[in-house]
């Protein structure tokens, strides 16, 4: 009989013998993967959404007076002293008025009685992509507000801050659910394997006496952990995909979900989650063997 055939027979026997605890472990692994993957999916999508928002990020520096060409050069030089920027654009009072009128659209006649220079001149600064963290943008904003002749600097601070803290909270949840995944997979698998080992103590003792090698005795237990990982994590990912499809179908049409494009994991990410779960389960099974299966 070949080694692997014997090993698979042993695995089948183990699973039959402790099917109830095997099932519990499988469900726990699936649920852990599902919880972790669910939060990670939201987090990943939020990050993508944030990146897209970041692409449109610009700082508006409102000025007291419209700068002349020389002052414009001086200000440009001062701004680029802080850091390289993607774009600097000076907006005159007239341009600001026209832009505002365009934004008002059919209601632009409310501006009829207003003077054409009531809006302050400004500088539109688009920072480089590497300057997109909230702290860096805040520092840049503070620097710009200290420039001479500056009235105020705006970059949608409140909104950006709220979004930043939301993603921060999500990252903590992802971290916590990741820890939960690690703990449950390792401990539950370790516990089940321990039960199997204890339940088969007499047989394992006999196997040693009739000359079974370490590999012959240990491989089925390792394989059991591996199987728990493969089936459990695949079930978790498949459940999440089903949930994702159901939400997409159920909440399609105008609504919250359409504010940003929500997408599922790429195959690479899905396979990585499955592989990590398999590794964790095998680790759980290995640690139990080291403790309870001294040969």
């Amino acid at each position: 009989m070949s080694f692997w055939l014997t090993v698979f027979r042993q695995v089948g026997r183990n699973i039959r013998q402790t099917w109830a605890s095997q099932l519990m472990t499988l469900l726990t692994v699936s649920l852990s993967v599902l919880i972790f993957a669910f939060f990670y999916l939201i987090y990943a999508n939020m990050l993508t959404f944030g990146e897209r928002l970041g692409d449109d990020l610009s700082l508006i520096v409102y000025l007291e007076e419209e700068p002349g060409p020389e002052l414009q050069q001086q200000l440009t030089k001062k701004i680029t002293t802080f850091d390289e920027v993607e774009k600097i654009r000076f907006i005159t009072r007239a341009e600001a008025y026209q832009r505002f009128a365009r934004q008002l659209g059919p209601n632009q006649d409310v501006l009829n009685d207003m003077p054409k220079d009531f809006l302050p001149p400004s500088i539109e600064v688009v920072p480089l992509k590497n300057l997109r963290s909230l702290n860096q943008v805040k520092l840049f904003s503070a620097y710009l507000s200290r420039l001479p002749g500056t009235l105020k600097v705006q970059f949608g601070q409140d909104w950006v801050e709220r979004f930043y803290y939301f993603t921060k909270l999500l990252s903590i949840i992802v971290l916590l659910s990741g820890t939960l995944l690690i703990l449950t997979t390792i401990f539950m698998v370790a516990y089940t394997i321990r039960l199997t080992i204890l339940g088969r103590q007499a047989e394992l003792e006999l196997l040693k006496l009739v000359g079974a090698t370490n590999n012959y005795i240990r491989t089925p237990f390792l394989l059991e952990g591996l199987l728990q990982g493969i089936v459990g994590s695949s079930l978790g990912i498949i459940s999440l995909y089903a949930l994702y499809e159901w939400i997409k179908l159920r909440f399609s049409g105008p609504g919250f979900l359409n504010l940003f494009e929500f997408s599922f994991f790429s195959p690479v990410v899905s396979i990585t989650i499955i592989c990590v779960s398999i590794l964790l389960c095998t680790l759980g099974s290995y640690s139990t063997m080291q403790k309870f299966l001294r040969i």
């Binding site: 009989m1 080694f3 007499a202 196997l207 006496l209 009739v210 000359g211 090698t213 370490n214 012959y216």
Partner: protein, 234 residues
């Protein structure tokens, strides 16, 4: 104290000043030295507590001696580890006094286990199991759970498992303890057959009916010490 078998034959088992003590101060075996030749049938006799079972447990490396040297085919067994020890154990078939059967498995599965660890082909295992059960009068118990068998039947299953893998050494502890005269003869015939096929056989027993008229060597132990050796060439 050392007694050696026919020197023309190759030595299979060798013990030199072997002692086994259990804490706090139980002496199970003391300074035991003897050799068993390859292909020899060897009886170890003595009263309960004489050290027969301990000797067999040392020979199959289930336990290690407190002092002394045990060699199997010229290799010291207490130094063997891992796959070397596993390989050696595959060559030693043991019929334990307490049977060590898996009581939730069938007779056939119990016998097959010693061949499975040597990766024998399933059809060879099947044939060998049927053959052995037939020779031991257990053909109708092939698919019976061993927990449901009588003591005598369980004893024979243990023996079948011990010889199934055609080991070079067979250690048998009280092989006829639960058997009637006819079944005892059946068991002894099988052991003689294995011996003729070349296996070295060590039988620990206090049943004098199986060694009374034997031409093989019989070693008597008393309180863990060598007492006397009879039979064979000395």
């Amino acid at each position: 104290m050392k007694t050696t078998s026919n020197s023309a034959l190759e030595t299979m088992i060798e013990l030199i000043k072997v002692s086994k003590e259990y804490p706090p101060d139980v002496v199970a075996l003391k300074d035991l030295s003897f050799s068993i030749a390859s292909g020899e049938m060897f009886f170890v006799i003595g009263m309960s507590g004489a050290g027969k079972t301990t000797l067999l447990r040392l020979l199959c490396s289930m336990e290690i001696p407190s002092s002394g040297l045990i060699e199997i085919s010229g290799r010291p067994i207490n130094q063997l580890k891992g796959s070397h020890l596993a390989k050696l154990r595959q060559k030693i078939g043991v019929a334990y006094q307490d049977f060590k059967l898996l009581n939730d498995r069938t007779t056939a599965e119990n016998v097959a286990i010693s061949m499975e660890v040597s990766y024998k082909k399933p059809q060879i295992i099947k044939k060998r199991v049927r053959d052995l059960l037939d020779q031991l009068g257990l053909a109708d118990k092939h698919d019976t759970i061993t927990g449901e068998l009588s003591r005598g039947e369980q004893q024979r299953v243990t023996l079948a498992r011990a010889i199934a893998n055609s080991p070079t050494i067979i250690l048998v502890d009280e092989p006829t303890g639960n058997l009637d005269a006819i079944t005892t003869e059946m068991v002894m015939n099988l052991l003689h057959k294995c011996n003729k096929a070349g296996a070295t056989i060590v039988i620990a027993t206090h049943d004098d009916s199986i060694y009374r008229h034997t031409s093989h060597r019989v070693m008597e132990l008393r309180k863990g010490r060598f007492h006397m050796m009879t039979g064979g060439i000395q």
